[in-house]
Symmetry: C2
């Protein structure tokens, strides 16, 4: 690689950032990928780590290992805290400044509490591996405490699990917790019947799975109800604390509350002083550049991208990947001296969600499916999108084992709650 | 189970405690197993989690899941803080007191710093899953920092790994780190050559692997040296800090120091006010009971048990299991009204240690083996001793993958150092 080659800095090695790097292989650019984590995470299956079905390493890959054959890429573990667009430098938290010619910000989103960050200790959200092991610990520890609790009312509070938000993550969490109780843990306790576990799914909107069609959502609603999940629609949460959750004018006592209701973009917009939407996403140009900065792209969950019908490009992996590939093609076109700027267009590849181990909803646009067949399509699609044979084999083995025996192998309570800054359980 | 049945309380679900519970299946006793962790841990492979070869869930099992079919067992997650031998009660940290007729203490050991606990933040030891992920993070983070470090001397400090103590754990850690650098990570970095990594193994004694014969130790010494490990014998460590380690009159600058030098028994002896040896192990009677308390047994790493030749029964899994089985048989004999107390005798089943992925030493007493064959025996034996087909398949897949591709799938840096109370890296 010529040292004078254009330097492309990519911040964030999620689905979008990684795709940019890959489509710039065999291109005459130097690439630096910066991420504050050492691993790429397959977020669509994160809820399975949270519910003890998969191990952390089954849905994560060391970023530098994924990019090790691509000799024009250097990978840095580092935390970006700012961008100097004038000096064309990315600023790291240790004071280092990394110069760039072209910058791609693909820094993703975090769960958000709509101005109620004080709820976070009581209702953890699910975005990182640590979030997943925190939720796993909370769920498993609640069962452990129920086994030791002699007071019936208090035991009931340990056995009440509340999931706030009924998008795909909330639906998948609620369904899996219900199944965990009724199936996996059925024979494990002596002092209570795991069928007494309550799983309550609270949604402010009028129905679950707002991104799906009415028919599919109605099917998912029935499937969840069949698993024993209590669904509360049209009721916004007004408070969360260590004792439970307040919603729709009532207070439900519960020791475990999980947050799947909202996300906010990473602070990339603040770094750029760029205009954003309400969720903090950068309002990018049709070619995904930041207004006024033709050499800075923003993609994935950090970008606000509209489709021709004014709907937002959804915050899902295929969208981030399409944007990443588009940006790589743009960079290549500019290298060739190509001045024409074709706007980004999103190709809808469908939405999938699963409800327990026998039902799913699949909406591919041209066809909508439910039930067993949808569940198999969901499973095969997710294994297909994992990177590499090793992870595919491992996840397939884990799923096969759960399917046949009902037993989950990742039922580990690790790390003290106290050491993590959370509330003591 | 008759509610008047004798109540056996087992504290600790390691190799010893679990064996007691299992050999009391189909026996007319009520059993309560108490552990402060929810999982049984296969400690012999813990160093493989620390070196990113295995996932945490591959060497751990939920205790209550292992015992779920045994209807006379109740499992409690709880932390024991004392024993009232007069009132026959086990005291938990939340104030609860659990009555027992017979008590088995199988609480294991922790790593120990010979009166230098202030070294722990700089030289973490390896006994729990969290210890393993801490060490894994330290090792992987050092490589990440070396990639970003521009000063050659400082980079060298990031690439110097010191292991203190050359028993099986120290030897296995040192060998695996050397292999990790030279094999797994070879293509992953752009700013240094991973062959420049230094792995230094420091041992106060005159040779490595003191528990093995001279021949086997000499073979292991050569095998480690071939992997590039520098072995420093007869040199005790006199200080550890954030910058490095002092030993044999010199100070070696190194950012990563690992402790594999000593263990101390759990505080069971303090609970019982029982006499101990220097490492805190309870000096038990020949029938593994505590002097003066015929209904309290101590087994495993917490017990000081001598063989006829006055040597100590070693702190390894097979010894703990034999002791556990012996205690279960004692309890059954007492239930039958059998008054004869046959002393415990240890049957030596051999020692094994592995050096990297091609060499091992195996001492079965009647035969001593080295090299490839020993390595295969080591591997097959360890897979055999894992519990259940699920874990055997998972570990076999992980090993096969590493053997063929050299790639390790558990290279995750998780949990902030700061959140864990350690030093910032």
């Amino acid at each position: 690689m010529h040292p004078d080659a254009q330097h492309v800095v990519i911040v964030g090695a999620g689905f979008g950032g990684l795709e940019v790097a890959r489509y710039l292989a065999n291109t005459a650019v130097r690439i630096t990928v910066i991420d504050r984590r050492n691993h790429h995470l397959f977020q669509p299956l994160l809820y399975q780590v949270a519910t003890a079905a998969l191990a952390t390493s089954e849905i994560a890959w060391p970023i530098r290992s994924l990019l090790r054959k691509q000799r024009n890429v250097t990978t840095f573990l580092g935390k970006v805290v700012g961008v100097s667009s004038q000096e064309r430098k990315v600023l790291l938290d240790d004071g280092e400044a990394i110069p760039f010619d072209t910058l791609v910000l693909a820094t993703g989103a975090r769960h958000a509490y709509f101005g109620h960050d004080e709820w976070e200790p009581y209702a953890p959200g699910l975005k990182t591996l640590e979030d997943a092991t925190t939720i796993r610990r909370r769920i498993l520890a609640a069962f452990e405490q129920a086994e030791r609790e002699t007071d019936k009312v208090e035991r009931g509070e340990f056995l009440t699990f509340v999931v706030i938000g009924a998008g795909p993550t909330g639906v998948e969490l609620a369904g899996t917790i219900a199944e965990l109780a009724r199936d996996t843990l059925r024979d494990d306790f002596r002092n209570f019947d795991t069928r007494d576990v309550r799983v309550v799914l609270i949604e402010a909107g009028p129905r679950i799975l707002p991104g799906f069609s009415d028919n599919l959502a109605a099917y998912a609603h029935r499937a969840l109800t069949d698993l024993g999940v209590e669904i509360k629609l049209g009721q916004a949460v007004s408070d969360c604390d260590a004792g439970g959750v307040e919603f729709g004018g009532q207070y439900l006592r519960a020791k475990t509350i999980l947050w799947a209701a909202g996300v906010a973009a990473s602070p990339a917009a603040e770094w750029l002083h760029a205009p954003t939407d309400r969720a903090g996403r950068v309002l990018v140009e049709p070619d995904l550049t930041v207004p006024g900065h033709a050499n800075i792209f923003v993609i994935g969950d950090t970008a606000h991208v509209e489709m021709p019908d004014r709907k937002l490009v959804p915050g899902i992996a295929p969208a981030a990947k399409q944007e990443g590939r588009y940006v790589a093609e743009m960079i290549k076109a500019r290298l060739r001296g190509d001045k024409v700027s074709r706007p980004f267009t999103y190709k809808n590849v469908g939405s999938l969600a699963t409800i327990g181990k026998r039902a799913a909803v699949v909406d591919l646009g041209w066809i909508k499916l439910t039930g067993r067949l949808a569940w198999w399509i969901w499973g095969v699609a997710h294994i297909y999108f994992l990177i590499g044979l090793r992870h595919r084999l491992a996840v397939a083995l884990s799923w096969l084992w759960i399917y046949i025996t009902g037993q989950r192998s990742a039922r580990l309570i690790t790390q003290d709650e106290a050491k993590e800054g959370g509330i003591p359980v």
